[in-house]
């Protein structure tokens, strides 16, 4: 039949159902009348003829039903009917519906939130066409590592020699000061995320600009010749108010004028999940946007670029890797000074992320939320079973009246689907709230240099799939059981409780026992997290974060030169030091937990066992008083003084770990004083002090080796004023800002924060989020288990009401009845507890990587969980048990 007539009948059947039904009725009745006419003509009496016709017809309604089933849209129609029945049924039991929807919402919402978190950190594809085909090349300094930036000169050689790639593009992240006032007068100077890119960057990634153009090859051949830039969609929107005439306008980057040539598409947020550049500049303009920008193009050992590209058709990653191996060994021969032992690693973008991301915490969280969902489903399944049992009479009647079993199972499943849809919707709302809540704890969330943690379409799709799976998980078994029970009830004509030990009641007990076991596991895990978190808050940082204000300023933003910037910081430091409430102030290029860098270092008299010439070591450049302000003890020698200037000899302070590892071994640390270190092969720097170890960027890893140089000798433009205050640091902020604007009215700080906030936001981010989520899951799990247990016990009580009534009539004491019911609930709890503890003993060692200072088998945690669980289950069983003892025997005996 043609699609048109099919659609027409479908529409008619669905929307003019009443009319079609009426017509059908009339038709069948006409048939009966004609038949009766025929019979009376053959000699029957009118009455006889009518009767005989009815019998031959076999029932008007049955015939009509058979016709309806043959009609188009029959399935859809019966689905609507099931849906209406399901919604009516759920509205009649609001308590049941609420508990089920809430259970599902918690399970689904938790999964959606965690999925979003992991998606934002690892899985969200690069926002370019054919993202799966994008490959990445890393250059590693030895065969042992699998990660590292590449140098510009190596990249040029890769492009010239490699045949495997359709395109290779290079980029480097940096922060620039932007002044767009000439193009957009209302804008203010600000610091933005920039990406230095090769001219083919956009074309290689297949990204088309909606406005203007991207770079052309000529713009990336001669250093400093074409000051052009492509801006991000978000910058175009934010600063230029989507001005379509933006191409051709001038903006200043670090004080140099650049011409905007185009706007990147809205979806394109760069190639890194944690870095969303606002402006793209050709590599040849590096000298204008970076302080050491000219070097970046000339030095083969300056490995700060990320290479991405696409393979030629029919070339595999393995083939490209083999070709790169040959090229790298050629380059090693040609440039032994810079390329010794260097290797290139070719991977797909996604393969690279999977290999390099630390997914241990997200993986553990995923496992936990899956458990929560499983528990929610178990809970709903047992609630549905209880409901089905209480509706046994109704279901049996339906069966007896001729409903097919398939039809009843379908009806039960429709009810589950409605519950899942409600639960899924509530789950999304919950996840959205959770993501907004947790987002506040994610460092740099949503800013240019942080993950974009949000609920997106991919998450919604994930939620939909989870909801559908949960329908099958919790809906199918109860549906079949209910119909099976009802069937046997029809057969045996028993309408209420059949045997108390039937299959579905055992299944329910197993489900609840399993739930209790799972919640024990989750509670133990969250107890361990909580303990680990408490412990991590008391970790000795090696410095005193209290009463310290941090103000980070980059005067390069205003076009200052390096020297001008250093002078600005020094002037500001002097002014701030004189403020009331300020004890003292110093300048540091980096601040623990805020920023860090590692430089290539040589130590005279030390050769690395692996023959590496340079050591890659964390460092900081600080002004006098840094150590006394941070309260980092100097163990030997001295800290920097005002006499350590650009004109005086180079000096350094090293930390204990550096001294022990490279200079003195376990011997006398004071022997480190006077030793010489060098930045690469440069001028000698004498060690004048050894400082006690302190946290550098993580409070869980042991402190790395660190060397400190005087800010006056090695400082860059971007630095932080570290101010020790008398009391609460926030109260000096207004005076601080006033001093800053006296020096330069247009300068704005990049960040102003308290050291304590910094430590708790950055340093404690992971343990905090794991503890919060783990604690929430544990609580949810226990509540679910308690609700489940309550359901099972009160159900048992309702089924044994008659028995309890008889017992009490015959003289049973209330306490005996109470004990009988309580035993039933608590034996289940005890079984669950034993299994849960056993599973936890096996599983908690998996958490070791994210636990600080707590054994995975911490006896106190295990004991506390056992006590909490027993109390919760006792309460859950006691409520229905005490209700049972207040049963009126007369009512109980009549109870059917």
């Amino acid at each position: 039949m043609s699609l048109r007539t099919r659609l027409a009948s479908l529409l008619r059947n669905l929307f003019r159902r009443q009319h079609a039904d009426q017509e059908l009725d009339e038709e069948v009745r006409a048939y009966a009348a004609l038949l009766a006419d025929e019979k009376s003509k053959a000699g029957m009496s009118v009455e006889q003829a009518r009767r005989s016709a009815r019998i031959e017809l076999g029932g008007v309604e049955q015939v009509k039903e058979q016709v309806r089933e043959a009609r188009a849209g029959h399935l859809l129609e019966s689905f609507w009917r099931d849906l209406r029945i399901a919604i009516r049924g759920l509205r009649k039991k609001p308590g049941f519906t609420l508990v089920v929807v809430l259970s599902l919402a918690l399970g689904i919402g938790a999964n959606a939130a965690i999925f979003s978190l992991i998606d934002a950190m690892v899985f969200r594809p690069m926002p370019v066409p054919h993202a799966a085909a994008v490959i990445a090349i890393d250059t590693a300094a030895s065969k042992l590592t699998r990660y590292g930036g590449s140098s510009y000169l190596d990249y040029v050689d890769f492009c010239a020699r490699a045949k495997s790639f359709k395109s290779l593009t290079i980029s480097q992240q940096m922060s620039v000061g932007m002044n767009a006032t000439t193009a957009a007068p209302s804008s203010k100077p600000e610091n933005i995320a920039a990406l230095l890119v090769s001219a083919n960057f956009f074309s290689a990634l297949e990204v088309q600009p909606p406005i203007g153009r991207t770079f052309i090859p000529e713009e990336d051949q001669v250093p400093e010749k074409y000051p052009v830039a492509v801006i991000s969609y978000s910058l175009w929107n934010r600063v230029f108010a989507k001005d379509p005439d933006v191409p051709g306008k001038l903006i200043k980057l670090n004080g140099h004028s650049f011409t905007i040539v185009g706007v990147a598409p809205k979806a394109f947020t760069g190639i890194d999940l944690f870095y969303r550049p606002d402006i793209f500049v050709p590599t040849m303009m590096s000298a204008q946007v970076m302080s050491d920008g000219a070097d970046t193009l000339k030095q083969r050992s300056y490995r700060a670029f990320d290479i991405r590209g696409r393979l030629n058709p029919s070339v595999s990653v393995a083939q490209a890797q083999a070709e790169m191996n040959v090229i790298m060994s050629d380059l090693e021969k040609e440039h032994p000074e810079s390329n010794k032992d260097n290797v290139a690693i070719v991977r797909t973008e996604m393969g690279r992320r999977m290999e390099l991301s630390d997914v241990s915490a997200p993986t553990i969280l995923t496992a936990l939320v899956m458990l929560v969902l499983l528990m929610a489903c178990a809970n709903v399944a047992s609630l549905l079973m209880a409901r089905a049992t209480s509706r046994l009479k109704e279901t049996s009647t339906q069966l007896a009246l001729g409903a097919t079993r398939a039809c009843l199972v379908r009806q039960f499943l429709t009810e589950s689907a409605v519950l899942a849809a409600l639960g899924g919707t509530a789950g999304i709302l919950l996840a959205d709230a959770a993501i907004k809540g947790f987002g506040a704890f994610v460092p740099n969330n949503g800013s240019a240099e942080g993950p974009a943690f949000r609920l997106d379409l991919r998450t919604l799709a994930c939620v939909a799939i989870i909801s559908m799976i949960s329908v099958l998980l919790f809906g199918l078994a109860p549906a079949f059981m209910a119909v099976k029970d009802a069937w046997s009830a029809v057969m045996t004509t028993r309408s209420s409780a059949s045997s108390s030990r039937n299959f579905s009641s055992i299944a329910r007990r197993v489900l609840i026992g399993g739930q209790i076991a799972l919640s024990v596991v989750l509670l133990i895990a969250s107890g361990l997290f909580l303990k680990s978190f408490t412990h991590s808050q008391n970790i000795d940082l090696g410095f005193n974060p209290n009463h310290i204000l941090l103000v980070t300023i980059n005067p390069q933003l205003r076009g200052y030169s390096n020297d001008q910037a250093t002078r600005f910081h020094e002037q500001l430091r002097q002014r701030v030091s004189g403020l009331p409430q300020v004890k003292s102030a110093t300048v540091a290029a980096r601040v623990p937990f805020l920023s860090g860098a590692s430089w290539d270092l040589t130590i005279d008299g030390y050769t690395a066992p692996d023959g590496e010439k340079f050591l890659d070591i964390s460092n900081n450049q600080v002004d006098p008083q840094y150590f006394s302000i941070m309260q980092i003890p100097i163990l030997y020698g001295r800290e920097f003084t005002a006499n350590d200037t650009q004109k005086s000899p180079g000096v350094a302070v090293v930390n204990e770990t550096l001294a022990k590892r490279y200079l003195t071994g376990e011997g006398d640390l004071s022997k480190a004083l006077g030793r010489i270190i060098r930045l690469r092969d440069n001028a000698p720097i004498q060690i004048v002090g050894v400082a006690k170890d302190s946290s550098y960027g993580s409070m869980f890893d042991p402190p790395p080796p660190v060397f400190y140089l005087p800010y006056q000798q090695q400082g860059g433009p971007n630095a932080t004023l570290v101010v020790r205050t008398e009391s609460e640091p926030a109260i000096v902020i207004p005076a601080f800002r006033a001093e800053m604007s006296t020096l330069d009215a247009e300068i704005a700080p990049i960040s102003v924060m308290k050291m304590t906030d910094l430590v708790s936001q950055r340093g404690l981010f992971l343990p905090r989020i794991v503890t919060m989520l783990g604690g929430a899951f544990g609580f949810v799990a226990m509540s679910l288990a308690a609700i489940g247990l309550y359901g099972v016990v009160s159900f048992m009580v309702s089924r044994r009401t008659q028995e309890i009534g008889i017992r009490m009539t015959l003289g049973a004491q209330r306490s005996e009845v109470l004990r009988m019911v309580l035993t039933n609930g608590l034996s289940l709890a005890a079984a669950g507890l034993v299994v849960g503890v056993a599973v936890a003993l096996l599983a908690t060692p998996l958490l070791r990587s994210i636990l600080v200072g707590v054994s995975p088998w911490d006896p106190a945690t295990f004991a506390a969980v056992a006590v909490v669980l027993i109390i919760a289950t006792a309460v859950a069983s006691w409520i229905p048990a005490s209700r049972a003892t207040h049963v009126d025997p007369m009512v109980a005996l009549r109870h059917e």
């Binding site: 099919r6 038709e27 006409a30 048939y31 004609l34 043959a70």
Partner: protein, 108 residues
């Protein structure tokens, strides 16, 4: 013969055939089938009406309300062009099948 013993598709063909000459109402179709098969097939309303409605939705039949010989309102069915084509196809198919079955039964 019982409706369940009807070969799949046979009822459709019977209905199409019975309507080949003129339009008829449900009972008329049932009686006509009885008559042309000399009473072998007795079509009950429980199978006749679903078939009629299905075939109407397929576009083989068109229905109109009309007056019966004894002045009763009844729904009359007639073949459409598609229905005639369908009857031809069915007839050919049936011819092939019955020939094949006859051969199969004669073979030894």
């Amino acid at each position: 013969m019982d409706q369940t013993n009807l070969l799949q598709g046979t009822l459709d063909m019977m209905i199409l055939k019975s309507l080949a000459l003129t339009q008829m109402h449900g009972l008329g179709i049932a009686r006509r089938i009885e008559q042309i098969t000399k009473g072998t097939f007795q079509v009950k309303p429980g199978s006749l009406f679903p078939a009629l409605h299905r075939m109407e939705e397929e576009g083989w039949l068109a229905a109109t309300w009309g007056e019966s010989e004894n002045n009763r309102r009844a729904k009359y069915y007639k073949l459409t062009a598609a229905g005639r084509r369908q009857l031809e196809t069915e007839t050919k198919r049936w011819g092939r099948i019955s020939l094949a079955i006859a051969r199969a039964l004669e073979a030894n």
